[in-house]
């Protein structure tokens, strides 16, 4: 067994190498369900909104299936770079619930969610969190239940009733977003 190669920071000078046009929009290329917008701002430990951080989004389709080919109708992957005001926006559909660890004898289901990876200047490794939805039943999600109850709300985006969900992410300090070990 070989140790994974060491991570290094993304650094500040990368936008031109990464972003493909419209990559924050997971709905492009077809109708897969009602489109939603997930938006928020990224903050650091002093409450400064942080620009030029790379966010990567990974989710299942509406039936809870993850895409397994490059030409799947719904690919489930998006990227965006935070704007000068720290904001990020993804356009997507609601994912369905996905199994927890079916192969290992668990019958539990994870509530609809997206995995979110964040890279940026000042981050030596990726930090990973999740986004859940306030209008779903999150009460029995075995992953949410790993998060201390008082902090769970920091993972749950609130809807405005017309398809826009909002969740701010705080990397450090007061009101810090829960992040998962990899």
């Amino acid at each position: 067994m070989t140790k994974p190669t060491a991570s290094q920071t993304l650094g500040p000078f990368y936008n031109y190498a990464f972003l493909r046009p419209g990559e924050h929009d997971l709905t492009k290329g077809g109708e897969h369900g009602p489109a939603i917008t997930v938006t928020g701002k990224l903050y650091d430990g002093e409450g400064n909104a942080r620009r030029d951080f790379l966010m990567e989004w990974w989710q299942a389709d509406a039936s809870g299936q993850y895409a397994t080919t490059a030409n799947a109708p719904f690919r489930g992957f998006g990227r965006c770079i935070t704007q000068p005001d720290g904001s990020f926006t993804f356009r997507t559909i609601k994912p369905g619930p996905v199994p927890f660890n079916a192969g290992q004898g668990s019958n539990a289901w994870q509530a609809p969610h997206a995995a979110l990876g964040i890279f940026g200047p000042g981050l030596m490794r990726r930090i990973v969190t999740r986004i859940y939805f306030a209008d779903e039943d999150n009460s029995a999600c075995p992953v949410l239940s790993l998060v201390p109850e008082a902090r769970r709300g920091k993972l749950i985006a609130k809807g405005d009733g017309s398809g826009t969900y909002t969740l701010d992410i705080r990397m450090n300090g007061e009101g810090e977003t829960p992040f998962f070990a990899e």
């Binding site: 500040p12 190498a17 993850y66 490059a70």
Partner: protein, 230 residues
């Protein structure tokens, strides 16, 4: 067969909170990271195809028109179980020979090179191999740090076939005196792990009397599920 991976971290990875790299104090989570058994969310991942390359090729030297010392850079992408990772998305970016990025945020008055786009993008082949042509990048200063110059380095972004097998790293050059002074490379506590970020000269990759060959292999996290611990 499934195995339990060691948690990502330890001395072969930089700490999120790194003294040598001043910016980390505001972006590293202070709360402990929450242990998560790998679920289908982490063991699945985006699959990329030729359409995702958007015509960005593997020749940063732009058909020998970019100024600098020409080099061929190649290697193999493996996972921590030693298996080649085919069809991994590899995105490469770097500064030009004078240490300037073709990016509006890089305001240092070093010369631009009109033929330099500074990026390559590819999918690894069936054996997990990649190969690009480029020029050796220049060193550049980090603003507002006194006298810190980044050693010449090439940025690599890799996506294996799982959300868990994601890596962004940097490749360095052997023998450069700035390597030992670099807060970012030196943020990795383990010396062997630092050395694995340094490319090796490889004459089998040379283009005779034209470009110098270097080899840089990369190991991504494994793709298996983590069994429940009972």
């Amino acid at each position: 067969m499934t195995r339990i991976y060691e948690p990502f971290g330890g001395p072969t990875q930089p700490d999120l909170r790194t003294k040598a790299y001043f910016r980390t104090t505001l972006t590293a989570p202070a709360e402990p990271l929450i242990a998560l058994p790998r679920t289908v969310t982490e063991t699945s991942g985006p699959v990329f195809g030729d359409q995702d390359l958007c015509g960005v090729g593997v020749d940063i030297s732009n058909n020998n028109t970019v100024l600098g010392s020409l080099m061929v850079l190649a290697g193999q992408v493996l996972d921590e179980d030693g298996r080649p990772v085919p069809n991994a998305l590899v995105e490469v970016w770097q500064a030009n020979a004078s240490g300037k990025y073709p990016h509006e945020v890089d305001s240092r008055p070093a010369p631009q090179d009109p033929n330099f786009t500074g990026a390559a993008r590819l999918l690894t082949d069936a054996e997990g191999r990649y190969k690009i042509t480029t020029i050796r990048p220049g060193a550049y200063p980090v603003p507002n740090t006194g006298n810190w110059w980044r050693p010449p380095h090439i940025h690599f972004s890799l996506y294996g076939d799982a959300f868990a097998s994601r890596l962004i790293t940097q490749m360095f050059f052997p023998g450069d005196p700035l390597n030992d002074l670099d807060g970012i490379l030196q943020a990795i506590p383990d010396a062997d792990a630092r050395n694995r970020l340094i490319a090796k000269p490889d004459s089998s990759l040379d283009i005779h009397e034209h470009a110098l060959g270097f080899r840089f292999d990369i190991v991504l996290r494994g793709r298996n599920e983590t069994p429940m611990v009972d």
